[in-house]
Subunit: 337 residues, 2 copies
Amino acid sequence: MTAVNRKIVLASRPEPDATLDNFRLEEGPVPTAAPGQVVARNLYLSLDPYMRGRMSAAKSYSAPVEIGGTMIGGAVARVESSTVPGFAPGDIVESMAFGWQDYAALAPQDLRKVDPDLAPISTALGILGMPGMTAYFGLLETARPKAGDTVVVSAASGAVGGTVSQLARIAGCRVVGIAGGADKCRYVTETLGADVCLDYRAEENLQAALAEACPNGIDVYFDNVGGEITDAVFQNLAMRARVIVCGTISHYAHGGAYSGPSLLRPILVSRAQVTGFLVFDWKHRYPEGAERIARWLKSGDLVYKEDVVDGLENAPEAFLGLLTGKNFGKLVVKVAD
Amino acid sequence: MTAVNRKIVLASRPEPDATLDNFRLEEGPVPTAAPGQVVARNLYLSLDPYMRGRMSAAKSYSAPVEIGGTMIGGAVARVESSTVPGFAPGDIVESMAFGWQDYAALAPQDLRKVDPDLAPISTALGILGMPGMTAYFGLLETARPKAGDTVVVSAASGAVGGTVSQLARIAGCRVVGIAGGADKCRYVTETLGADVCLDYRAEENLQAALAEACPNGIDVYFDNVGGEITDAVFQNLAMRARVIVCGTISHYAHGGAYSGPSLLRPILVSRAQVTGFLVFDWKHRYPEGAERIARWLKSGDLVYKEDVVDGLENAPEAFLGLLTGKNFGKLVVKVAD
């Protein structure tokens, strides 16, 4: 076991594109557990699009990472030492407050126990974690599709989008995914069971392709990307469409400030309802979501895909790939065995 | 009484700005009432922003006006002849299907009787008509502000915005209007009772002015204009803000296709809910809205302002003024005594 704690800090802010130079690997002492704390060893680090928002100084859900501060991020970890009743060495925990590092000292309110018998522990970062909860509460509780609705999902092969695609299928909807590349599209239709998947890289006119794939218009759009894909979708909304704004990852390629045609007119004409969604608002109901998803995993109705990168030192490069859609499945970094 | 029916037809489509050349005055015979029809004489013609949408061929709520077709529009009219039981010569009626003309033959389903004892009959086009219903159902039923909310209204001195401002005040909200010019702003605060009114023509930085006027953020935004004003508002949304997209009149100055910074990110960060609103969806509940508004008119809690232009031939010029905010109050054309 290493005697040092490696951590990846934010060296500088993207201007405007995120690059490897924005990150720096540092080494420091392994923390010890102060009273009321648990020290845990990172096993799997989660890489997620929201982290890009924290790298910039602009207003977002919460404060940006400070220059020189450890990159924020969730992890599945093993308890090494504990002064907290109920957490013992060897326990597997998940924490959103872990950070891109080997070890962290954490308060119990930032810890969630993971049952290793339920599913592989890395799923606590994926389909049984934040992305799965995002799909569950964003689609089923917020968009509330009804059977027969046409549901369009962007980033349809991703951690969130892949689960949304399947939940929409389970809910009796016509599912039209949007993804980048033939491999991802094949996965969305053949493995996830979507009716159609449009490859936005290959389509010359995505708006026309959506019109063809959704002859009765789009009742629900679960948006993980924003940008030009979203512009094309909004031109095909059905009356009383519901749009979940869950992520805007494509905007970062425009320096975080994408400009495009105003979406107000299609919202008005379709009497659409567009809702910003953040999964943390549903924290109090995670157990319900996880229980249902675990049931569908067990029955085989839901499947998931992971993209596992080895080694904490490779997290920055893997993260940059995530921003341009290079990963295929939920991206996690295997930090230790 | 004139023996001819004057009508204003759409001569050409705006490319991209609407001009006087897009309209043409024609004369034809006065229609006669076929079985099941009423012929009525136009007294007041309503001019409203939505008409601009019908001049273009682009997708909107309903089909565009054909080239050579009579401009669509609501009017208050007097029944001249009738083959429909319940409608007798001399009755005052309101019809959204009237058009920019002296006379129209109308089916009873397109007619609503107006009680001349309730209020001046022209109010059937304003605070007791479509604009008033828009304010009532858009604000109170769709945005559903609660006492203490900060409500921002664009075009706050207009037919819809002026009523929204007052309804928000009645509902116990902090009301911040946005209007063009010192006179309109004075009217919004002094007569309509808004707490603040920002003059978007005078403010160098509307976003900063809104931040100052709304220190706790904007809980409800009732948007009648779109464009840059809306962009500034979205940067000041409070958590769980509700936005009613009611009109996008400013987009017509951009050829109908305004481009600007994506609003997805503020929607996401604020977990806002943005809803397209069209008053016709609430037609079945107009009597309820009109009854409540009439009560507030009687008590003096609600006031209204009309901008009356004389003569059907002046409708095109008055309408172009409406698109650039030259009118002050609900714009109606007095067609006959």
